[in-house]
Amino acid sequence: MAGAFSGLYISSQSLRNFQRALETSGHNIANVDTPGYSRQRVGLAAMDPIAYYDRGWQTRGQGAFVANVTRARDLFLEAASQRQTANMGRFQSTVKGLVGIDQVYGEPTDRGITAALDQFFNAWSAMGSNPNDPGMRTQVREAGQTLADRVRGSWHEFERQRLEVTSQVGSTIRQINDLASQIDSFNKAIRAAVVTQGSPNDVLDKRDAAIRELSQLVDVSTFPQQDGTLTVIAGGFSLVDAAGTRPFPTTFDAAAGTVTDGLATYQVRGGQLLGQFSTLVNLEGQQSRLDTLANNLRTQVNAIHLTGTAVSGLTNLRFFNDVTNPPQTGATDFDLDQVIKDDLENIVIGVSGERGDSGLAQALSDLRDTSVPGLGNATFGRYHAGTVDSIASSLKYFRAAQETEEAVLRQTENRIQAVSGVSIDEEMADMLRFQRSYQAAARALTIFDETTAEIIGMLRR
């Protein structure tokens, strides 16, 4: 459209362009603190020239237009970040679980089971050496009670944690489903926008943020589709696709690290969910070790205690409670036998029942050095030390893994920020540039206006 007004048209178009560029800088500055926001860039492009005939064909430029508004984004870094976030989520929740266990054991302090075992055997040793001191009987009962309380108390604390983590698994799965439906609605908005309006940058950012949040919970892989939607696979399970969402399976096998919807089994390979699974496995392992410890204490201590006679002449007395017929009940109700609670005199220290016969007390004290077949031929102390040691070692390992993953993730985040992050200084410099350009375009408009006015004035004469 060559003509007298084309210069006016070019200038007003470029005023609009620079206006748009300024607005985009403003949008970037406004979102400088928005997590997951990627800076946007206005892509200006020259308009197609028009051809006209003036002693041969000529072309004349038509100004510029806003070709697109793009997000600065590095897809490779995005994928790396998803993976690392999933590892991070897994390590964090594993470490959290192990810290809980480590703190319940409270080793090496005076409030641990190791100290209680030492005190228990020490009390028998003291009893064996001072059979006539009634204070020693009290000491034996107190030490036995403390030992039983700690073993039982730790077991119940693990049980509480186990129930808590089980319910956390439920809430993790609910969060996965919430995020899935968010991603699905972003998918739909993006598909609609791609068809009608071009790139919906801010919705894309929001979807990316939702994906990253999902990576924290479970390992995620994503596949972009032609229509702008994203297919999301979580833990091997197809969670979101163009058609919509499918609810994440709620039946799980913590030991295998799988979930199942009845039709197929899906392997969870990362994220908070996997960490929660391994915490459940750890807790159950600790409970079974405590069960073994409690049952063997019962068997070994009672075996000696039952052979003796109390000073009162009573026989067949147990020190720890136990059932006559196996299976034994484990740590859940581990306690002193009621007869010991009722009367200190029911503590058996010798075969004969004479006040000064403390042979069995000494035998019970020697029990601390005995290898117990039920504990894999370890002594009570070594067995429990093994329990605590394995927890401490894996906690140390996972803490180190978490720190490494944190550093790696931070590095990736930094690189993402280097590509996508907003810099206020840069935006200010851009704004100055666009402002100057706007001023120049306005000046050009004035000149075109004056030229046009010239022609209109000539016509008036």
């Binding site: 800076r39 480590d102 703190q103 920020q417 206020i424």
Partner: protein
């Protein structure tokens, strides 16, 4: 590298937090005096500390057991010492009684004194230790083992060994071997002396002098044995105390911090934290905005 504002400010925060957590950790070490609290912070060191604590608590218990052994042996030794002086008195009485210059009235008086010594002997044979246990009663330590039913001393205790655990798995006997025959034997000797004095049988009384003398020798020998075992126990206690000190030092070496070093580290961490804060505050105040009109 392109620096975004979010990243820049985020980094200030991360750096400050890292410096702060190091600072807090250094503070904790100085405040508690411990290098670590939980096993997971140093599994190898922690396991060593746990084991050593176990051994230490056991040695402490064995040391307490030695006090019980000491109690038995001291009571035995003191009892025998006292008995020895009574027997010396009995011997003096026998020597005087065997003297033809002594008249029967005096001998009757001596016999009464011997009877008194027999009562003292019975009392000594029923000696109790600090827990009220009868130390010569064997396992039946809650009942008086010796009853005087003239002309005999009747033993109702038993001769089972009373043992005390003094080293892991090692027990020593702390009550006297064959206390029954010893005490009843001495009693019978005195009984014989008494009746010989009463009957005025001078040759029998002079034989009793040697019998009593043999009793004194036996007593002193037993007393010496008890004393030797007391010295053993004392040596073992000394050894235990050194061992407890060594174990405490071993625990401290692994678990406790070197205070001077920890304080230096605390200062270093504090300086790093202050540095991170001052870097951040400079960065915060720097912006292109300040240079634009």
């Amino acid at each position: 590298m392109r620096v975004s504002t979010y990243w820049q400010y985020g980094n200030y925060l991360t750096d400050m937090q890292a410096a702060q957590s190091r600072w807090v950790e250094a503070q904790r070490q100085v405040a508690t005096g411990k290098r670590f609290e939980y096993l997971s912070e140093d599994p190898a060191g922690g396991q060593f500390v746990a084991n050593t604590r176990s051994i230490k608590s056991r040695v402490e218990q064995l040391d307490k057991n030695l006090r019980a052994a000491d109690d038995y042996l001291k009571t035995t030794e003191a009892t025998l010492g006292e008995l020895s002086s009574f027997l010396n008195r009995a011997r003096t009485l026998a020597v005087n009684g065997a003297n033809a210059a002594t008249n029967q009235e005096q001998r009757d008086g001596m016999a009464a004194e011997v009877a008194e010594i027999q009562r003292r002997l019975t009392a000594l044979a029923n000696s109790v230790g600090s827990n009220g246990q009868y130390v010569f009663a064997g396992h039946r330590s809650d009942q008086r083992p010796f009853q005087e039913t003239p002309p005999n001393l009747v033993f109702t205790g038993d001769t089972n060994p009373v043992t005390v655990e003094v080293r892991p798995g090692e027990k020593i006997r702390v009550n006297m071997v064959a206390a029954d025959t010893y005490f009843t034997g001495i009693y019978d000797d005195l009984e014989r002396l008494k009746s010989n004095l009463q009957s005025g049988d001078l040759s029998a009384v002079s034989q009793d002098i040697d019998v009593i003398k043999a009793g004194i020798d036996r007593t002193n020998q037993l007393r010496g044995e008890a004393g030797a075992r007391m010295r053993d126990v004392a040596a073992q206690r000394e050894h235990n105390e050194r061992r407890i000190d060594d174990l405490a030092t071993a625990i401290a070496d692994v678990q406790e911090i070197d205070v001077a070093q920890a304080i230096v580290r605390l200062h270093a961490a504090e300086a790093a934290y202050t540095g991170a804060m001052s870097v951040a505050s400079r960065g915060f105040s720097l912006s292109l905005l300040d240079f634009m009109r």
